[in-house]
């Protein structure tokens, strides 16, 4: 079979499967990024806390998730998740083996890894917001919620965007590791296509090209978003 036939969208081609898998990769990365944003901002808050115990917790989280191989974390969640799910299942009188949903496990594992990197991004962005602005907001009588919503978040968001772009790229690449627990995303689909057509080289090249397109496109999007966000910023006249 020639290349075009292999990649066609018809019955014998792998085009549709790969496209669907690419969608799955994007979905997985997005979910992981959301998990990472929630946990990551909590970790950042812990690191910036005045209480020493919270700072310790934040630091330990960073050390753990940035120092342990991603693959091990994924194994922990997959096999550990299966054990926990099995226990809950038996608790309620069920029998047999329970499958852990790979998407959930994957999004959680990659998300928690991404959180450790996002925490640093948010922490840096928070520190970049001028203290005077928060004091001014306090001085004109804004409540805590208002200060966060109107002053802090819009600016943290702006400073965090370049860093978030990097984290997104990293998470996108980490999501390929979820293929080991059987979720059919881009990596897994390339593997399956390569194995059944015996065209390993072709399909890994095609899979790699898909990743390249995804990272390239999202990099472009982040650049556009950055220039948009920077529009209201006063420019440095010397720059």
């Amino acid at each position: 079979m020639d290349l075009l036939q292999l990649l066609s969208f018809g019955e014998h081609g792998w085009g549709a499967a790969l496209l669907k898998a690419a969608g799955m990769t994007v979905l997985l990365t997005l979910s992981a990024l959301v998990v990472g944003a929630l946990v990551g901002s909590a970790v950042a808050a812990a690191k910036l806390s005045r209480r020493r115990i919270f700072r310790y917790i934040g630091d330990v989280y960073s050390i753990l998730f940035r120092g342990i191989p991603e693959l091990l974390v994924i194994y922990l969640f997959y096999f550990g998740g299966a054990t926990v799910m099995g226990a809950i299942h038996h608790w309620f009188g069920g029998e047999g083996f329970v499958d852990t949903p790979p998407f959930l496990v994957g999004a959680l594992a990659v998300g928690l890894i991404s959180a450790s990197y996002q925490a640093e991004v948010y922490r840096g962005a928070y520190l970049a917001v001028a203290k005077g602005e928060l004091e001014a907001a306090l001085a004109i009588g804004m409540t805590w919620g208002m200060r966060i919503r109107r002053v802090l978040i819009p600016q943290v968001w702006r400073y965090a965007l370049p860093g978030l772009g990097n984290v997104w790229q990293m998470t996108l690449k980490d999501s390929a590791l979820i293929s080991v627990i059987g979720l059919v995303e881009l990596m897994r689909a390339s593997q399956v296509a390569a194995g059944s057509s015996r065209q390993y080289f072709t399909f890994y090249i095609v899979g790699g090209a898909c990743y390249l397109i995804l990272t390239g496109l999202s990099g472009r999007l982040f650049n556009i978003a950055e220039t948009r966000v920077q529009r209201t910023q006063r420019r440095n006249p010397n720059a």
Partner: protein, 245 residues
């Protein structure tokens, strides 16, 4: 509750795989560094036919997951009989060789960008000053550009080294029995995820801690100019005694 016998048994099995992880790390890091020097030399070249291939290389290896690169090398290249009959087959036919090649090529892409960042931070005035005192290109590189770049690039490089330690775990997916590979094997046999995970995680954490410590020690050694000058302890007895008025 805690099964110490199982824990120590697991730890011993994992430590037996530590040399594989370490040799993967050192081999790929040093090969990657060598390769990245070539890539960065091409990248900063004024000639487009040198700098564009380097740009392409960096984009390629930074834009795709390491896993797919490793699979491409391990499963993909063996498909061609030209490669199977060439000298490269000696390296590429073993999973270990493929893992080292993939890791080295991948880290070379990242390291090249780190070094380029360091190069760009060399103040142009210093280069001009070097030229003004009549340094040759090599002397300039060796005396001015090299040291400044090294100092600038070291913190990022230490991050890259930690990422490399973590990346060696991926080699277990092409059947290299490193720490992660053995850990996964034990987990699948015993289903005691938490204990095995703790042991393996501890090994990697200690390894990364040592690397970070070593790198910051090197950094400290390389930046004496940033430290405070030793306080001169010349006897000034008048200042020692508190003024009594």
């Amino acid at each position: 509750m805690i099964d110490f016998a199982f824990l120590s048994d697991t730890m011993l099995k994992l430590l037996a795989a530590l040399p594989t992880t370490l040799s993967l790390f050192f081999a790929s890091l040093s090969l990657g560094l060598l390769l990245s020097l070539g890539v960065v030399a091409m990248r900063v070249s004024r000639w487009p036919f040198l700098s564009y291939p380097a740009r392409f290389y960096i984009m390629l290896f930074r834009g795709t997951p390491l896993l797919i690169q490793m699979f491409l090398i391990y499963y993909g290249l063996g498909q061609f009989s030209a490669i199977r009959s060439s000298f490269m087959w000696e390296i590429l036919r073993s999973p270990y060789g493929c893992a080292v090649v993939a890791l080295a090529m991948c880290t070379a892409g990242y390291t090249a960008e780190i070094i380029r960042g360091g190069l760009l931070s060399v103040p142009p005035g210093q280069i001009e000053a070097g030229l003004a005192v009549g340094m040759s290109r090599w002397t300039l590189l060796y005396r001015v550009i090299g040291p400044v770049t090294l100092r600038q690039a070291l913190p990022s490089y230490s991050t890259e080294a930690v990422l490399m330690v973590k990346s060696t775990a991926i080699a277990s997916l092409v059947t290299v029995w490193d720490v992660t590979g053995i850990a996964q094997q034990i987990i699948q046999r015993t289903y005691r995820t938490m204990e095995v995970f703790l042991c393996a995680a501890l090994i990697y954490l200690v390894l990364n801690f040592l690397i970070v410590r070593f790198m910051s020690w090197v950094e400290y050694q390389l930046s004496p100019h940033l430290r405070e000058r030793p306080v001169q302890r010349v006897a000034t007895p008048a200042a020692e005694t508190p003024p009594s008025l």
